[in-house]
């Protein structure tokens, strides 16, 4: 456990320092979101065994992924924050989702086990605004009758880097709390009123783990892999839900993917009794006018393989694969990616 976290934390620094250009020719190069990093690396491992083609994915955060693809230092960028139609147009980018997952609050409070604590959106927003400062605050106590809460200050942990996880998290907080919406806003990085900043999902996980009476937010796989104490949530329908694959899937059930350019649907605070309120899709960005057509083909082959064969690996880490009809639409979208010769780098018979 300790070693895992240690390597994860070391990887944060490594990922930042490593240059995206230093990629072996045969490997697919990508950079961006830390949110889907666990599943991308699981896929990459199996894919390498099957095909011999590796994936060099640098989990540097969504903001970094957007920057790197715009400057064309990688074949694909990854972001949990979907870009709007204008931005895609401006940079001649194609955007498509790969998987969906859940963001969960994680806490480190003595005597509290995973799933024992329940929070709602408003309370979470007040904690992150610095208005609720103690664990035994009446607002938390009301939601958790019978749970012994300490009279201790809450140590708030947030992301210090630009992050798609933060984007989806603040999007949710803004949708349930007026003050958040007006005073703080929604972005990959915001001006946090309180708390400690940590780099990457790994960094938040490590900081919550090391700091007593703390609370943070991470992608569910990080909570799972590090045996962290996640909390349940009250969703839009007023029902208590646990962060589980079916709750994430419920959030995506009603999504209309074709309604947004580049499938840019945000799944926060969706209706439904079983819906996890902080669900998010994660996206891939690729240039329509590929600098290296062959590299783009290799990348698309990888994602094609992942859509077809990556479901089990995704389920193991509680990510939700994209529905088949959406995958069909995505592949149609791939036809827009063209190499230097003007021919599409992807065709259905690959």
């Amino acid at each position: 456990m300790f070693i895992t976290r240690l390597t994860l934390t070391a990887a944060i620094a490594g990922a930042t320092l490593a240059s995206a250009a230093a990629v072996q020719a045969a490997d697919i190069s990508g950079a961006g979101a830390t949110f889907p990093y666990p599943i991308y690396s699981a896929w990459a491992k199996t894919y390498k065994e099957k095909t011999g083609t590796g994936l060099n994915y640098q989990a540097i955060g969504s903001g970094g992924g957007i920057k790197q693809i715009e400057s064309r230092t990688v074949t694909f960028g990854a972001s949990d924050k979907p870009l709007g139609g204008d931005e895609l147009e401006k940079n001649t980018l194609v955007q498509f989702p790969t998987v969906m997952g859940g963001i969960v609050p994680v806490v480190n409070v003595d005597g509290i086990k995973p799933g024992e604590l329940v929070l709602d959106g408003e309370t979470l927003a007040k904690i992150y605004e610095g208005k609720i400062t103690k664990w035994n605050d009446p607002a938390i106590a009301k939601l958790n009758e019978g749970v012994k809460l300490p009279d201790a200050a809450i140590a708030v942990v947030h992301r210090s880097d630009g992050s798609g996880t933060t984007f989806n998290y603040t999007y949710y907080l803004a949708s349930v709390d007026e003050t958040w919406k007006n005073d703080i806003g929604v972005s990959t990085a915001v001006e946090w009123p309180v708390g400690l900043g940590a780099k990457g999902n790994q960094g938040v996980a490590a900081n919550v783990d090391q700091t007593k009476n703390s609370i943070g937010y991470v992608e569910y796989a990080y909570a799972l892999q590090n045996n962290m104490t996640y909390t349940d949530m009250i969703n839009k329908a007023g029902k208590k839900v646990a962060p589980k694959a079916e709750a994430f899937a419920a959030a995506a059930a009603n999504a209309d993917w074709s309604s947004q350019p580049g499938f840019g649907v945000i799944l926060a605070n969706q209706p439904g009794d079983k819906t996890w309120p902080m669900t998010a899709a994660t996206f891939i960005l690729m240039h329509k006018d590929a600098k290296d057509g062959a590299a783009s083909t290799e990348a698309l082959k990888f994602f094609d393989w992942a859509y077809a064969n990556g479901g089990d690996a995704a389920a193991k880490l509680d990510y939700i694969p994209m529905p088949e009809n959406v995958v069909a639409q995505i592949k149609k979208e791939w036809g827009q990616i063209k190499g230097k010769d003007g021919n599409a780098v992807w065709s259905m018979n690959h």
Binding site: T9, I66, A153, W192, G197
Partner: protein, 322 residues
Amino acid sequence: MTATSDYDSGVKSTRPVAQSDRIFGSLTLAAAVVVLLVLLGVFASLVLGAWPAFKEYGLSFLWTAKWNPVTDKFGALAPLYGTVVTSIIAMVIAVPVGLGIAIFLTETCPRVLRRPLGIAIELLAGIPSIIYGIWGLFVFAPFMQSYIQPFLIDTLGHVPVIGTLFAGPPYGIGMLTAGLILAMMILPFIASLARDIFQTVPPMLRESAYGMGMTRWEVNRHIVIPHVRTALVGGIMLSLGRALGETMAVTFVIGNAHRISGSILAPGTTISAAIANEFTEATTPIYTSSLIALGLVLFILTFIVLAAAQWMLKRMKQKSGA
């Protein structure tokens, strides 16, 4: 054989030697110029990169405490404050302890211990900063949160005036923790510099002082330290320069929060930590430019500190030469 013939030809005709000397001379000059060019290049690209930020916010960038990526309002005050505060904490602790080590090594240390201790200090200086960072987060911060910080809050926290310095909940991570880690990192630097400086004191001075019946404390207080005062201050400034720019270890334990707090237990950020955290993910041009502007501020700050150090060391040399 070859060596002899080379030597012979050199004696017979001076021209080849003169030529090779010229080539050698211009090569070394080129090497030196490269450093200058790199320095100028770094400075120029920092100014160029920071230009949009200074054009947008003016010089008020330096004293604005806001850092809001949503509304694109940026100011350098919070990271500047964190940089200065953590460096002060580090110096307050590392300078006396470092001088203590140096005096012990040059004055009272038994001869057998001198070498192993010296090597241990140099090894400490060789530990990469990322190791200090990981150790700080996984070992030191939890220890601070469970023992040191609650103690400080309960005791010093209630003292009037300085109480605010030690207020607030114990997070473990924060400016004090960062300052302490920094102190550990620059301690070997100060200790070995000070040891070398103390060794320049002429033995005659020391022996005369002891001969007059002065105690060890008196010899060090009134003879050794006054003799090397300027060099010592120069050495301390060099260490300060290191502390100001230290990045990885600080990033791990400072809390990375763009806030100015009266309490040194609270999380903060430093210039280098902010850049390391945010540079790759800064999404708007003005955000990137503001981070580069932070880098420029640090560059100038470090330059001033190092220039002051050099000046003092030079004055010291002139004095001892005269």
